[in-house]
Amino acid sequence: MVTGYGPVERLVRLWLPVGFFLVLALFPFYWMAITSLKPNSELYNRHVMPLVLHHPTLKHYIDLLTQTSFLTWTWNTMLVAVVSTAISLVLGVMLAYPLARMRFAGAGLIAMTVAAIYLVPQPLLFIPLADVINRLGLGNTLTAVILTYPTMLVPFCAWLLLGYFKTVPMELEEAARIDGASRLQTMRRIFLPLCTPGFISAGIFAFTLSQNEFLYALIFLTKSSVRTVPVGVIAELIRGDVFYWGQLMAGALLGSIPVALIYSFFVEHYVAGLTSGSVKG
């Protein structure tokens, strides 16, 4: 819609604002990256110009990987994210398919309940949930978070998939039914294979949400061997009042990479999910 402006007007209307937002969005990541590569002598010297890198070193990365449990935390984070995403997709489909395709009494109420649960923030539930997890004897096990992450991911996946399912035409399923397929067969063999883009969207979101989760992991995981990256970084790289900034930044950067990588592969799915998930429903 905006075409035919001169170069000056284009600078003011386009490049200045877009440039401003880009610098704002990316500076903290730039800062993370160069901090993680600076030797301590440079980090804690106020007479050195801080915005550029003078003597790059990988020391902080080597220390992080050899002196802390960072690799264990990364493995834990991945395992938890993959398993809870898988559980949430399966349970999400089981909720979304009947809501999208069947007519039955109470469907509207269930759909509303799912949406409402999706919007309940964790701080409302974490205290009673901590007690429940303790009574089940699941403290300091990855099972604790693998069980609790789906409480937010299942309603989320169901909601997103419900929106997606409604956009898939029904003719193929009707044809399969006429040919004598049972409802379960129709759903599994005919319908679900058509919905791969929806699963990718929901899966990426669920994966990033589980990587981002902090509160439950903080409460349930207090031993280094079971911690996830966010909790490990906060609890073990900040020791009392002493900050190991180089290691902290290296950890923050490495911890962000899996999410950023997956996001970069599926960015179009992500944006589509982002805009349809909230707007269409």
Partner: protein, 310 residues
Amino acid sequence: MSVRSELIVAASPPARRTASHASWADRQSVFSWLMMAPPLLFLGALVGYPFCYGILLSLQDRPVAHPGTFVGLKNFAANFNDPIFWRVALNTFVYTGAATLLKMVGGLALALAMNQRFPLKNLVRALLLLPFIVPTVLSTVAWMWILDPAFSVLNWVLVLVGVPKPGPSWLGNPILAMVSIIVINTWRGLPFYGITLLAGLQTVPPELYEAATIDGASGWQRFRYVTLPLLQPIILIVTLFSVIFTFADFQLVYVLTHGGPQNATQLFATYAFDIAMGAGQLGLGASVALTMLPALALLIVALTIYLRRG
């Protein structure tokens, strides 16, 4: 019976269809409830039960690892007489209000700037979303270092442009600490606003702008009378989302300030955490967390109804 009745339904005229309609609907409902039973049981056990149990806890004096005793509304009365609790309530409203307003205005500006044709637009959009993608705790650690009392790069720049050394203590001063958490929350949430509104902007039919231009509307008038009314539903939905999750925010504040200095940035969620997990008072902590419920319930119901209509 099952396959045959459906064959008849598919092939027969409307009169026969009503006759077999009851069994048809019946089977749909059986299938649906069987399918939905596992996820519903799961959510009932790990959301519904803890929710009710939390209400019960809030009515108990319940030190950690001890049995609880029922005390009625004593916890809520204690909160009512606790000056820190009122400080927390005020903080939460200031934080939510200011951050939401900034995200709304900034997000709209971002969407308008991005709604132009330019090279590498998709790459720019992907990069702009990064703050929203990266785990909050990890990006907050980077902000912590940007605002470090001794080695703040922000202060290095400020001193360069003439602010007296050593520059402000961002997280040590109550007001600046509040400003800091608001700005960082905005930094993280703004891309979500911006990209969602951008998607909304792209659905506005260009004919509307052309018609408005022919009628002599200025750029501002086109924005005010064409763009804004059409974006209004999306703005409302995104804002409700943002308000719900900012109101109950935990991570950012826990990592950056722990609620300090002197509870100046303490929010409901972090205060409930301190009482329940720090001091071990599960009942009192649950009552603080539940104070969020009325406002949250209102927002959640509003958004749920709105999403269903949309």
